[in-house]
């Protein structure tokens, strides 16, 4: 055997390499089947960052589809509810440059809005219930509807279908409970400012 190898070193090397290739190929092939990742892990991570408003302002029917589109190379600046924070996080995750929000898809709201139904004007048509992407509206046909404020994402999708225009998008009222300390205004002076 040894003599044969030393007589035909080139063939021997070829055989060894092919042999190794076959073994590793088999291992990799087995691993690919055995440890197959379900779904798209990047889309999952992107979806985790998106605000889950499900408003569709990005042009996709919900956050999950937009996350999948981003994973396939869609622009990251189409989410107005997420705003600059979300864009920065996405840029960080995907290793791309943070770009300003695309105005075409809407503007960033300073405070999240919540839908309120003016209940005595509601005619009970259930159109808003069908429009709500997160099932946050309660009601039945010909019965008054109401929004579960804690579940409302402020997506705006219920306003358009309402035939009597009885839905208002209002900011959450500020109270002692949801009040937060604010950053102090940066009023830094240097020595020469004082004289002025």
């Amino acid at each position: 055997m040894y003599e044969l190898f030393s007589q035909y070193p080139f063939t021997a090397a070829m055989l060894a390499l092919v042999g190794l290739g076959l073994v590793f190929g088999a291992v990799l092939g087995y691993a690919a089947v055995k440890f197959k990742t379900e779904g798209n892990p990047i889309a999952d991570q992107v979806n985790d960052i998106l605000p889950q408003t499900q408003c569709g302002q990005c042009g996709y029917p919900g956050c999950r589809p937009y996350a999948e589109a981003i994973a396939n190379g869609e622009a990251i600046n189409r989410c107005p509810p997420g705003g600059e924070t979300t864009i920065a996080q996405l840029a960080d995750l995907l290793g791309v440059e943070a770009i300003p929000l695309d105005d075409e898809h809407g503007e960033e709201q300073p405070a999240p809005l919540v839908a309120y139904i003016r209940e005595d004007e509601c005619i009970g048509c259930t159109k808003c219930i069908q429009a709500c992407p997160v099932d946050a509206i309660l009601g039945a046909a010909k019965r008054m509807h109401t929004v579960i404020a804690s579940e409302c994402t402020g997506c705006d999708l219920c306003v358009e279908p309402c035939p009597v225009d009885c839905i208002d998008m209002l900011p959450e009222p500020s109270s002692v409970r949801n009040w937060r300390w604010e950053m102090p205004a940066p009023a830094e002076i240097i020595a020469t400012d004082r004289a002025a």
């Binding site: 889950q52 919900g62 992407p133 950053m183 102090p184």
Partner: protein, 510 residues
């Protein structure tokens, strides 16, 4: 003699305690109207049990606790409920909150009440109920409900009960006055708490700048196992974690509670309230608050009914409006400015400080950080205040958490020593608020995602069911057509449908 450990950092601001220690504790009286906020403290608040127009006796319960961390409220004096409405309260936000407004009748008539005959006969759970029903919240400032703090996991066998009589913040002398005048009750309260917790040792920690208070407590504690420990004054030795470290040498773990290291801390005023609740059956209706500052002509410690409006109180103590530059609830280090004097004094109000401009000058404008490092020398928690400051300004929340922002006790020692007058604590408070808000948002987003996905799934299921039904109907129709003699083709189906509708119409016209 117990070995006193030192904690890192700390500062020595001017004490200014003598002004309010001249006389004894005086009752402030009954104001014509009391305003009792339904959410006075850290917990979840209370739900009103009374209606406008209803007459209530002193000590009658007017609101029940909401959830486990709420605190019930009682009428501090007899009178008629005027309204339950939004009133401004003493809160850093200046926002109003729901309050029960009580018009007092001046008769101050008690509801029938009686204390427990022997608290040692009572089960810990029964004692805990007594304390919870008496509406006692922590009276040292933060207002954490006492009963919640005392209901420790039985797995944590409490070794040490510490009564916090440190009162390290300048100007405040309420606990000191109580120690001088009610030492017997404080010791009695400590005995109740020790019995309730099954604590092996009970310590009362007092700074050595209160010699009369220490002497009174030592006299009252003679013959009991309670030890009075005094130690050199340094701000913030009254911080729960700092006090525990000084007295026991143990450190409370980050994100942990004192109960994790078998220690429970209670404030002196709280201990007194527990004594009154158990022995006399009296709920917490009033507290001793220090009213002081140069803009007040009669500074001192006053026994003030819960809900007493600040403006009425100031009239009683000779307030000079024209001299007052700032009205602070709490001490000068950790207190906040009161914007509306119609707000009431509550169970957590330790001090009302009406200061003049010379006494507490308004902070000069902040200058750039020069990286002197004084703040990290002063920090009692061994944090890196200037690093935290940069991260907070840069909104680098992850780094803030990595640098243990949430261990900051907001004592203000760093801002006190800062030569550039940077309001450091404000940055940390805002940073904490931002992080909590982001967490909250993330949690909400997660919930929305789950709801969205559940809805998608349901819609798909309905669509699928509909499709199935359609397929079934089609199959049934084909079956019928075949039975009618056709070959089941589309033409036959149409013919069959036409025939059926004709037959129906004929029947109708007949």
């Amino acid at each position: 003699m117990r070995k006193i450990r030192d904690f890192h950092g700390g500062v020595h601001p001017p004490e200014n305690k003598a002004q309010s220690l001249h006389g004894p504790i005086r009752p402030a009286g009954i104001p014509p109207q009391l305003i009792i906020p339904l959410s006075q403290s850290y917990g979840s608040g209370a739900v009103a049990l009374v209606e406008p127009g209803q007459h209530v006796a002193k000590g009658e319960q007017i609101a029940r606790a909401e959830g486990l961390s709420g605190v019930p409220e009682h009428a501090p004096s007899s009178g008629r409920v005027a309204a339950i409405e939004e009133r401004s309260i003493a809160h850093p936000s200046g926002l109003p909150a729901t309050c029960i407004v009580l018009d007092t009748d001046g008769r101050d008539e008690w509801i029938a009440h009686h204390g427990a005959e022997d608290f040692r006969q009572l089960e810990p759970a029964a004692l805990l109920d007594l304390i919870r029903n008496a509406g006692i919240s922590g009276m040292g400032g933060a207002g954490f409900p006492a009963a919640v703090k005392l209901s420790v996991n039985p797995a944590n066998r409490i070794e040490t009960l510490i009564i916090n009589g440190t009162e390290c913040e300048p100007y405040i002398t309420a606990d000191q006055a109580l120690m001088r005048e009610c030492s017997v009750e404080i010791i009695g309260g400590a005995e109740i708490l020790a019995h309730l917790l099954g604590a092996k040792e009970t310590l009362i920690g007092v700074e050595d700048n209160k010699p009369k208070g220490i002497a009174a407590l030592r006299r009252a504690a003679q013959g009991s196992a309670i030890e009075i420990v005094s130690f050199p004054a340094k701000y913030p030795s009254g911080g729960e974690k700092q006090l525990i470290e000084m007295l026991t040498g143990k450190q409370v773990p980050s994100n942990g509670l004192p109960a994790d290291i078998q220690v429970v801390c209670q404030n002196t005023s709280t201990t007194l309230a527990v004594y009154r609740a158990v022995h006399q059956g009296e709920p917490l209706l009033s507290r001793v608050t220090t009213v002081t500052g140069e803009a007040v002509t009669r500074p001192g410690n006053y026994e003030i009914l819960n809900g007493t409006p600040i403006d009425w109180l100031l009239q009683q103590v000779g307030f000079r409006q024209e001299h007052c530059s700032r009205l602070i609830m709490g001490g000068p280090m950790m207190g906040f400015t009161v914007t509306n004097v119609a707000a009431p004094i509550t169970k957590t109000s330790t001090c009302l400080l009406a200061s003049t401009e010379t006494e507490l000058p308004s902070p000069p404008p902040a200058q750039p950080c020069i990286r002197c490092g004084f703040c990290s020398e002063a920090c009692p928690v061994k944090l890196l205040p200037q690093q935290l400051y940069w991260f907070a300004r840069g909104k680098e929340y992850e780094k803030l958490e990595d640098h243990h922002l949430f261990d900051c006790i907001e004592c203000g020692a760093c801002s006190y020593v800062c030569p550039s007058n940077i309001p450091l604590v404000q940055y940390y408070r805002a940073g904490k608020a931002q992080i909590l808000e982001l967490r909250d948002e993330h949690e909400r987003a997660e919930r929305s995602r789950v709801r969205f996905e559940a809805r998608q799934e349901r819609i798909e299921k309905i669509a699928l069911a509909r499709q199935e039904k359609r397929a079934q109907r089609k199959a049934a129709a084909e079956q019928r057509a075949r039975e009618a003699g056709g070959d089941g083709s589309e033409q036959d189906l149409i013919q069959a449908a036409i025939a059926r509708s004709r037959a129906r119409r004929k029947e109708q016209t007949r």
